[in-house]
């Protein structure tokens, strides 16, 4: 591992520079020197731990095949699938809520507008534990929803300690980021485009479908990708709600601390990272082509 780090750094790079040009000795050297601190930090805090993690994943009794067997484990696979489903659901619901709210907030000025925007972005400041706590206050055994349903004679409704509670917490947590992105994109919309569509007879719904959503698409895709990645990896809320909740970060935690199955935990971590990274990459390429098509 340490060999790997020693190979990477920059002193070797000047050998690759182009032949003879005015001042070629000075400039690349200076650039290399300027890049060196960043490269060192990158190697120490990103490459090194990552490589170490990958190697630990392969360091168990089964070697590199740990990566396959870990995933073949029904419990792990189940956890992965439910995490993916949860994250996808959170992303879709968050996008829907935030698009409607963001557009409304950009287009309508009313007393208290600034306060409302500030309140909506408030959850950004909370750690996952606090979000989890708030979900329990709302839908836990002593929660508001349970008390109300009991008073209405419908029995005590409690869903804080399950996927539903986690879903609620993640949506609450994700809305601020997406709303801010949607608002920034919506402010740049050309109102003339909507007026042109309306002059051609388009109803409000058609204007949304044909003009507004296509224009917001790049922003929605990038905000959605971030929301998805956050939901895939979030841990604090799940941990606060219940230790037996079946999402991948919790599974990793359990393997690591309770089962002391360090290789499996490392392998799952790498898989979680890969899947999330792939989802982001796909979203980015889709957004990229749509941006190009939109000119």
């Amino acid at each position: 591992m340490s060999a790997c780090v020693q190979d990477a750094p920059l002193p070797h790079r000047p050998a690759a520079r182009p032949p003879a040009g005015p001042g070629w000795t000075g400039e690349p050297l200076r650039l290399a020197a300027l890049l060196a601190p960043a490269a060192a930090v990158f190697a120490a805090f990103f490459l090194l731990p990552l490589v170490r993690l990958i190697l630990i994943g392969a360091g168990g009794a089964e070697g590199w095949s740990t990566y396959l067997t870990t995933l073949a484990d029904p419990g792990h696979l189940d956890s992965l699938i439910s995490t993916l489903a949860l994250s996808a659901g959170v992303t879709l619901v968050t996008l829907a809520v935030s698009t409607v709210a963001g557009l409304f907030l950009v287009r309508n000025r009313f007393p208290g507008h600034a306060l409302l925007v500030a309140l909506l972005t408030f959850p950004l400041a909370f750690p996952g534990v606090v979000i989890g706590f708030m979900v329990i206050m709302l839908a836990g055994r002593q929660g508001l929803i349970g008390t109300i349903t009991q008073a209405l004679g419908a029995g005590k409704l409690v869903f804080a300690y399950s996927m539903a509670g986690l879903f609620l917490g993640y949506v609450y947590f994700s809305i601020p980021r997406v709303i801010l992105t949607v608002m920034a994109a919506a402010e740049k919309l050309d109102p003339r485009l909507e007026e042109a569509a309306r002059s051609l007879g388009a109803s409000s719904w058609r204007v949304v479908a044909d003009v507004i959503l296509p224009a917001l698409k790049p922003a929605l895709i990038s905000a959605g990708a971030l929301c998805f990645a956050t939901s895939m990896g979030a841990f604090g809320t799940a941990f606060t709600l219940a230790t037996r909740i079946n999402v991948l970060p919790m599974t990793i935690y359990t393997e690591f601390t309770l089962q002391a199955n360090i290789a499996a935990a490392a392998a799952l971590s790498v898989l979680l990272g890969l899947i999330t990274w792939a989802a982001l990459a796909v979203a980015r390429s889709v957004a990229g082509t749509s941006v190009a098509a939109a000119g």
Binding site: S199, A202, D210
Partner: protein, 354 residues
């Protein structure tokens, strides 16, 4: 039949428009438009002309249905009161300065949009899109993306898109302002030809008096939310209603004179004049001031600047007293800075400031 594929036969109904007491006060209490009464004849091209903030765009948006007039105002298309109808139900064509083409659609899809919204069968849609693309000489660009077109081509697409739905009125909001000078001239000629051949009622908003004079059957000159004058380009140019219109359209010289007993004394000259006695402020166009000899000149002054414009040389002459005068001399005139000149005034072409 307007359904023929022959571009030349594409013709639209000429719907008259009437504005009755249409004023506009914005939420903050700012008055954008004083109550306005105006009848636009069917098939007429009317140009709203004025500096920015004069209310011309607000008027256009009231006709379009993008703004509603203050209570009491009415907008009529023919006999139909459309005041309460939003733009999507007024069947108007709109062309914007910024083109406002849909970036996620091709040229053909942009043009077809209004027909798609109207749920026209695909076959009819394709035929009418092709007809309009031919009319606007855009046939070869049908499959292009919008960002592959020049500004002039984009505005032609916008015109085709607005016309394909056979609107009752065509509304153009500074359609040439974003184009460079040469394109602007050629597209202006094309729009002129189009409006004449279509026979559609058109409302055109601009701050450019050249465009207004070239395109308008009538011009509505506006200032500070009021109509300053309505008239044909010639009326506006030769009989401006007030000093603002005179100054805004073309170049106008101001002369001070004195009237006594039916004679106007102007510089060294006495000219027959009908008007009340006393000091008079007079307006005269540069082309109505002629260079003359010392013997028959009415005014004299010194050339302060001479600008050669090819077909003419525009002189700025400073008289001994009073404001500088702009005078057109022949292109080959050799007059230059510091030369002394005499000017003749044709009393028939002098206007008194109302």
């Amino acid at each position: 039949m307007p359904d023929s594929v022959m571009p030349n036969s594409f013709h639209l109904d000429a719907v008259p428009i009437r504005l009755e007491r249409c004023g506009k006060t914005f939420a903050g209490g700012a008055r954008a438009l004083e109550p306005l009464d105006l009848t636009i004849r069917g098939g007429e091209t009317i140009v709203f002309l004025g500096p920015s903030g004069c209310g011309k765009t607000t008027t256009l948006r009231i006709i379009a249905g993008l703004e509603s007039p203050d209570p009491g105002g009415r907008v009529l298309f023919g006999e139909e009161d459309v005041t309460a109808l939003p733009i999507e139900r007024r069947n108007v064509g709109m062309v914007f300065q910024s083109y406002a083409l849909f970036p996620n659609m091709t040229v053909a899809e942009n043009v077809a949009y209004g027909l798609k919204v109207r749920k026209l069968p695909r076959v009819d849609r394709a035929r009418r899109v092709e007809e309009l693309l031919d009319l606007m000489h855009l046939g070869e660009f049908a499959g292009r993306r919008i960002d592959q077109l020049s500004g002039g081509q984009r505005q032609r697409v916008a015109l085709a898109r607005a016309l394909v739905v056979r609107p009752r009125v065509l509304l153009l909001d500074e359609p040439l302002t974003a184009l460079d000078a040469k394109l602007r001239d050629s597209l202006r000629l094309e729009i002129d030809r189009l409006l004449r051949s279509l026979g559609i009622t058109a409302v055109y908003v601009t701050h450019d008096q050249g465009e207004a004079m070239a395109l308008g059957d009538r011009i509505v000159v506006m200032a500070k939310g009021r109509v300053a004058q309505v008239g044909t380009p010639r009326e506006i140019y030769y009989q401006p209603a007030d000093a603002f219109v005179a100054d805004f359209i073309g170049t106008m010289n101001r002369l001070g004179g004195t009237v006594r007993g039916g004679m106007l004394s102007l510089g060294t000259a006495l000219l027959p004049w009908s008007g009340p006695d006393g000091a008079a402020e007079l307006l005269v166009r540069p082309e109505d001031l002629a260079l003359a000899g010392e013997a028959d000149g009415h005014l004299d002054g010194t050339v302060a600047a001479a600008v050669f414009l090819g077909d003419r040389t525009r002189l700025v002459v400073e008289p001994a007293d009073g404001p500088a005068l702009t005078v057109d001399a022949a292109g080959r005139s050799e007059l230059g800075r510091g030369d002394r000149v005499w000017l003749r005034v044709d009393p028939a072409r002098v206007l008194a400031v109302p």
